[in-house]
């Protein structure tokens, strides 16, 4: 279990140390990438709890979602339509759903354990 944790710490330190300035236009890409990453992360946790977890699905979903969100934002910037809103909306809704499912599963488990 220490390897993912190490990766997280390495990633955070890399991100804090990076001193690259990106133009304002591309900041929406970043926010969408954050959302996509969080969404996939919670999706993975939910799948784990529902015991349908598959690491191929998880990893491919993580990178594919980020790429898709960035592509949508890129298209939106060039078309003059705020398409990244669609990505934010979709990911936001799914984020809430995933968290709700996780909460329910945990609640059920907790109450079951209490009955025992």
């Amino acid at each position: 279990m220490w390897l993912p944790l190490l990766g997280l710490i390495l990633g955070i330190s890399l991100g804090l140390l990076t001193d690259i300035q990106i133009p304002d236009v591309y900041e929406s890409y970043l926010s969408i990438a954050v959302l996509a990453a969080l969404d996939t992360l919670f999706g993975g946790i939910r799948a784990q709890l529902q015991q349908v977890y598959d690491d191929k699905v998880f990893v491919s979903g993580f990178f594919f979602n980020i790429a898709l969100a960035a592509a949508l934002a890129f298209l939106g910037v060039h078309l003059g339509v705020d398409l990244y809103l669609a990505a934010i909306f979709a990911f936001g809704v799914r984020l809430f759903q995933n968290i709700a499912v996780i909460r329910r599963i945990i609640l059920t488990k907790w109450s079951e354990r209490k009955k025992e």
């Binding site: 997280l8 990633g11 890399l14 804090l16 990076t18 970043l30 990453a37 690491d55 990893v59 993580f62």
Partner: protein, 240 residues
Amino acid sequence: MKKNKLLRIPSRGLILISLVSLVLGFILAYSYSISSAKRDQISTNTVYFNEQEKYKEDLIEQKERNKELTEEINAKQQEIRDFEHSFANSEESVEELVKEAEMLRLLIGDIPSQGKGIAVSLQDGAYNPSQENPNEYIVHESHVFKVINELKISGAEAISINGQRLHSNSFIRCTGPVITVDGKTFPAPFVIEAVGDPAVLLASVNLGGGVVDQLASDNIVVTVEEKGKITMPALRDDKN
């Protein structure tokens, strides 16, 4: 049971999850550092704004002080002149010197000037479609020079162009359709006012083959009129 399942993940999966967490950590930390940098920028912007406000207030204060000092200088100058006048009354020979000083002060625009005089107004000629070059019928700075030189030769005490008084170091430049007098731009028509003996000034301007005739042949509308009273402020008053 959950733990067992986690342990059963093959090492390839573990590596992939590490990669995912690395990317996640990077994205989160990077966006955090960017937004905090932006916050810093906003706060420095407000600092700059406050500084600017402060300098503006300082500037206004300085300007007010300058104005006060200018008024003080004017008062002192008046005092000196009064003193000289009283001196002149007592001594005949000094009177000449005082007059000369007065003339010189008028020349450099140090004191206000008022009295009879004339006003010469130069206006662009009417648009003439048969002439392609508009330079043929607009007023150039050379025309203004001619009038001013003529007025000076005829003994004008003080001269102004569209209200801007000229002094001994004045400059007049042609800047396209307008002219610049001491850094201020003025459009046509140009009204050149001169304080002096109206009879002499009028006669010299209207001399046969003189300034008015020359200007008229350059398609410029010249009007000369006599003025009962012209007042020109001391130059220092505008300099602020």
